[in-house]
Symmetry: C2
Subunit: 257 residues, 2 copies
């Protein structure tokens, strides 16, 4: 089967070559920024840059929208698809229905639950891929595609997909942001972030092994208010970080009681 | 050298047997809760439970206080030590001076930068251990002890130790708490936390490989306010979690501008 990508961001950057290597052929890449689509085309065997959203003469069977959520609707309104083609989006939070305006009844969602950055290679094998469609036929096509690249393909509803996305924001974006702040504190005090890496690795290993709640340690968990005050004083001059420190500590304290 | 532990919490639970195996002999364990000291003694070769803080006839050379920070001062006021012994604490945030009241000039700090839970075995080899003392002799004794169990032993000031501890709270306690919330969201929606584990593992690997700030992804990083509103609506009924969601997202947005 032939595939076209609309979007050339972090997800498309990894998903398009992975499909290419799995036996699909990525034929076209569209991006608002032609530099980005050119860069992605450079990672593919037979793809061309597509300059417009008029795909009426496209050879592709599946069109994958991999753009920021707030652009999906604009794409759907503008895109022109060949007959009998399938249109999917890859968002965690957008309902299937956001594709309802498209001039095809064959719509679906392919949501890989993973964090993608261009600078870091990703192995899709362990990445859960969630499929949604109101057509059995489309569901089968998308499950088949998912299974060619991942060992963890599941059907999911729009509601559960959104719940997973919310959970993923905490599990990935927010946990990573805590590391960003940790590095800032270290940097600001002339301390090497390397020193924190064994702690970070062990935290994660433990959390996955014995459950995050059981793995919790530290002054908030122990209810050591003196240390909390002490740290807040240390962070004075950084009101945003102080507020984050306070609110998360309070939540840990509330859950430990 | 012989060692006695005051405290039998998560750190002592792992540090005492590690010292025992490294050629030190742990002779005594004191805890306010005798059940806890008995349990730790059960993990050691020759140690006895110590019922009081009168160590005047103790055979030990080094006394390691491994208790919650807010109890250290009480211990220091009460403890009676044999002559020429060394008294250390293991806290990230307490200054060396908190031991100043003790009836020995030989005081120091041994701070292992790691997260300890009884249920999870720890390898000290990669755990950075930070040493502080105002005595060169004590410093040498503590560095020697540290190097027997870890490959990363460094001298550090009280200020830098506190900075590391603050950074560690974000890097470990708070990042882990984000996983706790993620699991709660998954549980509440009947979704298996297992599904999030590949994402969590990849987030960490990427963050350590390319730097947490470069590794950041997600709706806040993209400035996708519609998704943020959408998620906040999804979380309604959980005001504490909503507040955490808002404040961290805002901080990511501010840093992405």
């Amino acid at each position: 089967m032939d595939v076209s990508f609309i979007g050339s961001g972090n997800l498309a950057w990894h998903l398009a070559p992975t499909l290419d290597n799995a036996g699909y052929t990525v034929k076209e890449v569209y991006s608002r920024n032609p530099k980005h689509s050119s860069a992605l085309v450079g990672r593919l065997y037979q793809a061309d840059v597509k300059a417009t959203l008029d795909f009426s003469t496209s050879p592709s069977d599946i069109f994958i929208i991999a753009v920021a959520d707030d652009v999906i609707q604009d794409i759907v309104r503008e895109i022109i698809l060949p007959e009998d083609s399938i249109l999917v989006h890859t968002s965690g939070s957008q309902p299937l229905g956001v594709l309802g305006y498209a001039a095809t009844p064959n719509i679906g969602v392919v949501y890989p639950l993973q964090t993608f950055s261009k600078a870091k290679k990703i192995d899709f094998k362990d990445t859960p891929i969630f499929i949604e469609s109101d057509s059995d036929e489309v569901t089968q096509v998308l499950i088949k595609m998912g299974k060619l690249i991942s060992n963890k393909v599941k059907k999911i509803t729009s509601h559960d997909r959104k719940a997973l996305h919310v959970a993923a924001v905490f599990a990935s974006n927010f946990s990573n942001h805590m590391l960003t702040i940790a590095k800032e504190v270290a940097d600001k005090n002339g301390l090497d972030f390397e020193l924190l890496k064994p702690l970070i690795a062990e935290t994660l290993n433990k959390s996955l092994a014995i459950d995050p709640k059981n793995a919790q340690t530290g002054p908030a968990k122990r209810g050591d208010l003196e240390i909390l005050d002490n740290h807040i004083e240390f962070l004075q001059g950084e009101p945003e970080i102080v507020e984050i420190y306070k609110i998360i500590s309070q939540h840990i304290i509330n859950q430990s009681e």
